[in-house]
């Protein structure tokens, strides 16, 4: 049934053919197919270019950390304009998603939420902090029945006492927002009562943090 070529090829020629095929086949995969595939992945589409923006930003953060320069705050998320970003369509004309991994954070620890009412006497000060790990996210909102000076800031828990960072400071009776912790430590609010009367602050927090603790302040403000 077969008209194979066994009578033509010698043992040596067969081994040579096997080795040549192995080298050519594996070489084709290693030097042509796999590199091409990588190029398709990193340059192929507009959706991927969004991811590239993210990775460049991440790189720049790493770089600035190494150079001890001010971090790039834009790296926390990316914004996309749906009007100018091209929609993606598959071979059947069905729409495909534009992947925005930079804006997603997946957290291992349990979701928490709590509301605390804090009494502050006239001219007194308090400090409340959320203990958070790097990358954990917190939503907050606070409201007071009088004017307060606030300093929304963070320290390392047992690190260099000279080093601290500030999210915002100001005077007012309410604030709300969200943060992603840039490092492991205490992230929260110093409040000084400047209302001239006792004030109650209602602080609501939700998200991914270890716990809320009150920081003991040693002396009164100057």
């Amino acid at each position: 049934m077969h008209k194979t070529s066994e009578s033509i090829l010698s043992t040596g020629q067969l081994v040579l053919a096997l080795i040549a095929a192995l080298i050519v086949g594996v070489g084709l995969t290693v030097f042509v197919i796999l590199p091409t595939e990588r190029n398709i992945d990193s340059e192929g589409s507009d959706a991927i270019s969004v991811v590239e923006i993210e990775s460049t930003k991440t790189e720049s953060v790493v770089q600035t950390e190494q150079e001890a320069v001010a971090p790039n705050f834009d790296a926390l998320y990316i914004a996309i304009d749906p009007e100018t970003t091209p929609a993606k369509v598959d071979e059947f004309g069905e729409s495909l998603p534009v992947v925005v991994g930079a804006n997603l954070r997946v957290h291992d620890i349990a979701y928490k939420s709590e509301t605390i009412n804090i009494q502050i006497d006239a001219d007194a000060q308090v400090e409340y902090k959320a203990i958070m790990d790097t990358g954990e996210a917190l939503l907050y909102s606070w409201e007071a029945d009088g004017e307060l000076y606030y300093d929304f800031h963070a320290h390392q828990e047992n690190g260099n006492p000279q080093f601290w960072t500030r999210y915002s400071e100001g005077e007012g009776s309410a604030d709300q927002g969200s943060i992603v912790a840039p490092y492991q430590g205490e992230h929260g609010w110093y409040w000084l009562n400047i209302a001239g009367k006792a004030v109650t602050v209602k602080l609501s927090v939700a998200g991914y943090y270890d716990r809320i603790k009150e920081i003991e302040l040693k002396a009164a403000a100057e």
Binding site: T4, E6, A20, V24, D90
Partner: protein
């Protein structure tokens, strides 16, 4: 190789042009791609034509199956033997396709595809007379084609299992997919036989068959190393 009359040649050409038209949009796709996968995930119940189409598409665009099939029929001289070997291959892959999905056997897709790549190497080396030269006897071709058919079936099964298949109408859908695979195989066979027939018209020197099978072997090694690279990267 099969002598094809001018009349049947023209008929084959018409069929092939039609098939190429149908599958041109997805000729480089392998496996079950985005839109098809989403359709399978979202739709419950029995969908004969969808699964038939998917099966046929998978076979026609699955170059690993095609290379093996090409190796199997390369030195066959009669349509009867082509039918016999292709039936053995179909029987082998149908068994593992159906039982693999029904019993939910999980096999690593890269390992299976690497073995499918090796099946191409095996067949090409066998065509070169390698097994006869090294072991004195040629392996039993019928059982080899059947056994490699079993591996190809696992490959088909893993592709289907990547989708969330609903229990509702599973067997009927599976049989439709399998039928599609066989239809796709027949379509691909027409194409391959025509290719062999044309090549025979151009040259009947033994060096041609040797060259083609060495290239086929390289293709098999390429497929295998590609799948292994992905296996170790994953």
């Amino acid at each position: 190789m099969i002598p094809i009359s001018p009349l049947s040649l023209r008929f084959s050409q018409i069929i092939i042009c039609a098939l190429l038209g149908i599958f041109a949009s997805s000729i480089f796709a392998h496996g079950i791609s985005g839109g098809d996968a989403r359709f399978l995930n979202q739709n419950e119940g029995f969908h004969f034509f969808i699964y038939l189409y998917l099966g046929a598409k998978h076979m026609v665009t699955g170059y690993d199956h095609l290379l093996f099939l090409f190796g199997v029929i390369f030195y066959l001289t009669t349509l009867r033997s082509v039918a016999l070997y292709v039936s053995l291959f179909a029987l082998g892959h149908s068994i593992t396709l159906i039982f693999g999905v029904l019993t939910d056997i999980q096999v690593n897709v890269y390992i299976i595809d690497a073995i499918i790549g090796l099946s191409v190497v095996y067949k090409a080396f066998d065509n070169l007379g390698g097994f006869e030269r090294f072991f004195g006897i040629s392996a039993n071709n019928r059982s080899a084609v059947f056994i490699f058919g079993l591996f190809h079936g696992f490959g088909l099964a893993t592709k289907l299992q990547e989708m969330t298949l609903s229990e509702n109408g599973l067997l009927a859908n599976l049989l439709s997919f399998n039928l599609g695979v066989e239809l796709g195989q027949i379509m691909a066979l027409i194409y391959l036989l025509l290719l062999l027939s044309i090549s025979q018209r151009i040259t009947d020197k033994p060096v041609f068959g040797i060259s083609v099978n060495i290239i086929l072997m390289a293709g098999g090694f390429s497929l295998t190393s590609y799948q292994l690279a992905h296996y170790f990267a994953a």
